[in-house]
Every structure is written in structure tokens, then in C-alpha cells.
Subunit: 303 residues, 2 copies
């Protein structure tokens, strides 16, 4: 199967094997029991690799403060991907009108107004504002798992509107942050290759919006600020990013006044495993039936 | 501590002990490592209780099809709680204007339009549309864990905008569904009491909107369609619902054409443990430091 990159066939195979469940909106499907088990087991392997690193766990909801999105300049880079929560603030007569319109299949959006929340676009975003102040010597390390939202509906199964990332975030001096990023780049590659995936790393750029975005992407590549680990899932020529490593330099440290023990603006880096994409890479590579996966892969995931 | 119901003091205690992390929006706080560990351990106990029930796991994202919300009449009952995802569909010049307005702290909502997604208000909602057709004899049982959204910002810590539910959903003949609901009502009570919580069950009603909602609530109570397990967390007189049991009769079965093996419209019931609320009930009852919790409670959670 691994040599056949029929996107539609792969999507329908995932559905036929109850690995994903269509819900009528692209990129928002449900996940079946086996799909979830693979995600859990892979996430356990990541935790196992990180067990002696001393990361502190933080969990943030799938929604976050709109003000943080605004202050992070997210809309400058990714206006097209951002989701904002709207809700109803009216009284009874208006509520009845809205409910009736919804039931009739007529528009009802005109009754809604903006709330204080956006959908979390990157699961480390809510962390930085909580870190303002002075770090202990050596900085800090965090472990996160959460749901990210990106407004990019697509029939292509690896391009989801809502998906989970297992992330780590390192905060401290630039050389410590970079050494940690490099260590994990190798760790991530080794882990994914040990699971039989044709994984390789590369310099990468974010999908910045518009013409101005092309310059930002070029700059990001030239400074080697972003790396990805890529695995063929829906194409051999354009392998899918299943893991990304981002060095933010002083961007978040400056924005949220995070300082190292010696008073300098802190550097930050994050890395994230795209859990659904990794599960899909495993199903693509080893087949839809986990019982038929190579013994060494099964032993790593179900020890 | 258990006898003192100072809401503000409890909220600040949770923050001081890094159990929750404020993010600038009420009810959308982050969760610290110990808080998460308590949730994980409690959830493990629930899984342990259910291990021989044969539930199938399904996982749905924190967003779901707006059309399903519309067809479920959610807006008739809870127009005030619903969150709808808006996004940007424009081109570059408009994106630049929006980003600049956001950066200046000016309104930018006028650039957004409605998407096909709402925030998932109850984590079993996305399941029912996937169940259309004929059930096997005896019906089906599902296990779900996910994030729910309710637009009710509040400084009261147990009233969250975004929170997790561990749910089970039973689909089948009315008598099977009801017997299962009754079995779990006792199971839930026994579990929560074994953890030292002053838990009791009661008939309940949903927070339906407006005057029309009062009639719906009365009807729901009279038919005994909803039960809750209550534990004092922020008040002795008004204990907090930490677990709810809902018998939907043929509502979802009829709406999504779910049939029992003998061709009748299926009945459904769901039950959900409010994971954050249960963690808060444990911290309120046993103190902010888990090391000081009663030995029998610790042994149950960390066996």
C-alpha cells in the first residue's frame, strides 16, 4: 500500500475501517477506537522519551483569550486560519427568531456577536502569557497536549480543522533553547524511524498569508527558525509534516516580558508532534489493520 | 476547609497552588500538572468500573457541524450557551486592515463571517448523527471524552466556558437504556462517595433559556428525564452537579433515524462525569495538597 498515494482511496480506507468517522464538515471528523489507541500509544512513547527531562505539564482548553491572539500578531501572519468564537447576547424575542431561522435552514449569524475567545491555533500560545517574570537559572521546560484549530477545510485527510498536538516548550537562554531543539530533532527522527516511517527532517516555513507572507517565509527559512519532520502519507513528492520545531528567538519573551535569571529577554522554542498525522502515517505505511503491522512496531507501541 | 464556602478564596487557592492558571478570560483558565493528574486518575477509575461493559471508544473534536446543532434544536433550548466559529474569508488588503485594527485594539469582528462549525456544547452531540441505521440486538454502548463549550463566563471556578466530560452513551430499547442509566447512577454515587465526597443524587433540569425554558424544565423534572450527582464545592446549600444522567427517549433516535434490531425508533441516554468539577470537589473536600489527602482516597486514585 505504501507506494500508492491515492488521496481519496486513503480517506475512504480510513472511514471503511472505522478509523475516522465523517461528520459532514471537512477536517472535523470523529476518531474511532483503534485510531485513538494508536495516538495514545504513540503519545506514551513520547512521554517515555521525555521522562527524565523534568518537563512540567500544563493543559489549556481549545479556546483562548482573543486579546492574546491580537497581541501575538497572529492575524498579521495567519488571518485566514484564525477561528473566533461568536455567541448570542440577546433577549427572548430575538432568541425565538434565531431558533426558528436555524430550524428553517435560514441564516441566523446576524444574531451573534464576538466573544472574548478565539479557538487555540497553536497549543503553546496560551502558555507564554503565564510565564511573565524571571525564570530560574537554566530556564524552564513544559509539556502540553491539546486541540488546535485552523480554518482550512479540505477533503485531504491530513489537513484537519481540529487536531491534537503533543508539544514541549523550552524557555531560557538562546544556546540552551537551541541545543534542546537540536536534541529533540534527532530524538523525533529516531522515534519515527523506529516505527518504520520514512521520516526525514528539513528546514521549513509557516503557511504565512498573502504576498507579504512570502517574504516572512523566506526570512524564516534563511534564518533556519523552523524545521519539520516529514513522512509520505498522501504523496511521495510532498511528504506530510508530522512534527515541527520552531525557534521563536525573543518573540514571545519580549512580548510577555519573560526574563532569564540574568535579566535578559528569554528565548523560546517549541516542538510538536501532530498526533493524528502520525497515526495516519502509520496506517498508510503499515496498513489499516494494526494486527498486521510489523512485530517490531507493535512491540514499541504496545509493549 | 470543607465547611468554608468562600468562592473567591477557593478560586484564589486553586491559583496559588498552581492547580489552575488564569488567562485573562473567565472560565477558560489553564490546568496545572497536579490538577491534570487528579483528572487522569479519576478518569482511570471510571474506565476501570466500565472495563467489562464493552463500550466502544469514539473521540470527537471540540468543534462540530453547525448543521447538526441546527437540526438538534439546540438553539431553541440554549441559544445563550452556543458558540459559533467565525473566520476570515477576504483578500490581502482586507487582511492587512483587520490585522492593523487588532493590533490597535480596535474592533475587527466586522471582517469575519460564519463557518460550518460550532463549538461542541455536549460531547455526545456529534455521535448521534453517525449512528443512523439499524442497531445490533441489545443496542450499543459508547465511551467518549472531550471538551465542551458553554458561553457562560463567570468568576465562579466550577462554571467554565470550556471543560472536559467523560461520557458514556447507551443506544437501544427504552427498558435497556433506563436499566443502564439506573445502574450507572448507583455506580457513580458509590465511586464519588468512595473518594470521600459528600455526593447525593437528585432529579434535575437543564438551564433552558427564558420563560419558555421554564416550562421545558418543569416537564423534564416531572418526567424524571435528568438526574445529577451533586457535591458541595462552592456552597453547601447549592451543591455542584459533577455528574449528569440524561434520558433522551426517542429524541435523537427519531432525529437521526436510529432503529433497534426490531425496527423501533431507538431510545438513548447519556451520562457524563464533569472532570474539572470532580477535581475541584476533591480539592475542596480534601485540601489543595494531594499529599495530605486521606490514605484511602490516595490509594483509590494512585493504586
Amino acid at each position: 500500500m505504501a507506494e500508492d498515494y491515492d488521496i481519496d482511496g486513503f480517506y475512504h480506507g480510513l472511514i471503511e475501517h472505522e478509523l475516522i468517522l465523517p461528520v459532514g464538515v471537512a477536517g472535523a471528523f470523529g476518531r474511532g477506537a483503534v485510531f485513538e489507541d494508536v495516538i495514545d500509544r504513540f503519545n506514551d512513547r513520547v512521554s517515555q522519551l521525555a521522562r527524565d527531562d523534568g518537563a512540567e505539564t500544563r493543559t489549556f482548553p481549545p479556546v483562548m483569550a482573543r486579546k492574546v491572539i491580537e497581541r501575538n500578531n497572529y492575524l498579521e501572519s495567519f488571518p485566514h486560519l484564525c477561528g473566533t468564537v461568536f455567541s448570542f447576547f440577546g433577549k427572548e424575542a430575538q432568541a425565538r427568531e434565531m431558533a426558528q431561522q436555524a430550524l428553517n435552514g435560514e441564516p441566523w449569524k446576524q444574531h451573534l456577536d464576538v466573544t472574548d475567545l478565539c479557538l487555540t491555533p497553536a497549543i503553546c500560545y496560551p502558555l507564554y502569557p503565564t510565564l511573565g517574570g524571571t525564570l530560574p537559572p537554566g530556564g524552564r521546560l513544559y509539556s502540553l497536549l491539546g486541540w488546535a484549530y485552523r480554518h482550512e477545510p479540505s477533503p485531504e485527510p491530513t489537513r484537519m480543522q481540529s487536531f491534537r498536538m503533543r508539544e514541549f516548550v523550552r524557555v531560557g537562554a538562546a544556546q540552551d533553547v537551541l541545543a534542546w531543539r537540536d536534541m529533540w530533532l534527532q530524538r523525533g527522527l529516531t522515534l519515527l524511524q523506529s516505527l518504520g516511517l520514512q521520516a526525514r527532517s528539513d528546514v521549513a516555513a509557516d503557511p504565512f498569508f498573502g504576498r507579504g507572507g512570502r517574504m516572512m517565509a523566506t526570512n524564516q527559512r534563511e534564518q533556519r527558525l523552523k524545521f519539520e519532520i516529514l513522512v509520505p502519507v498522501i504523496s511521495r513528492e510532498d511528504p506530510t509534516a508530522v512534527c515541527s520545531f520552531n525557534f521563536h528567538q525573543e518573540h514571545f519573551g519580549g512580548k510577555w516580558d519573560i526574563r532569564t535569571a540574568d535579566g535578559a529577554v528569554a528565548n523560546t522554542a517549541c516542538l510538536g508532534f501532530g498526533l493524528e498525522r502520525i497515526a495516519m502515517a502509520l496506517f498508510k505505511t503499515h496498513g489499516f489493520d494494526v494486527a498486521g503491522w510489523p512485530r517490531e512496531v507493535r512491540q514499541l507501541l504496545w509493549p
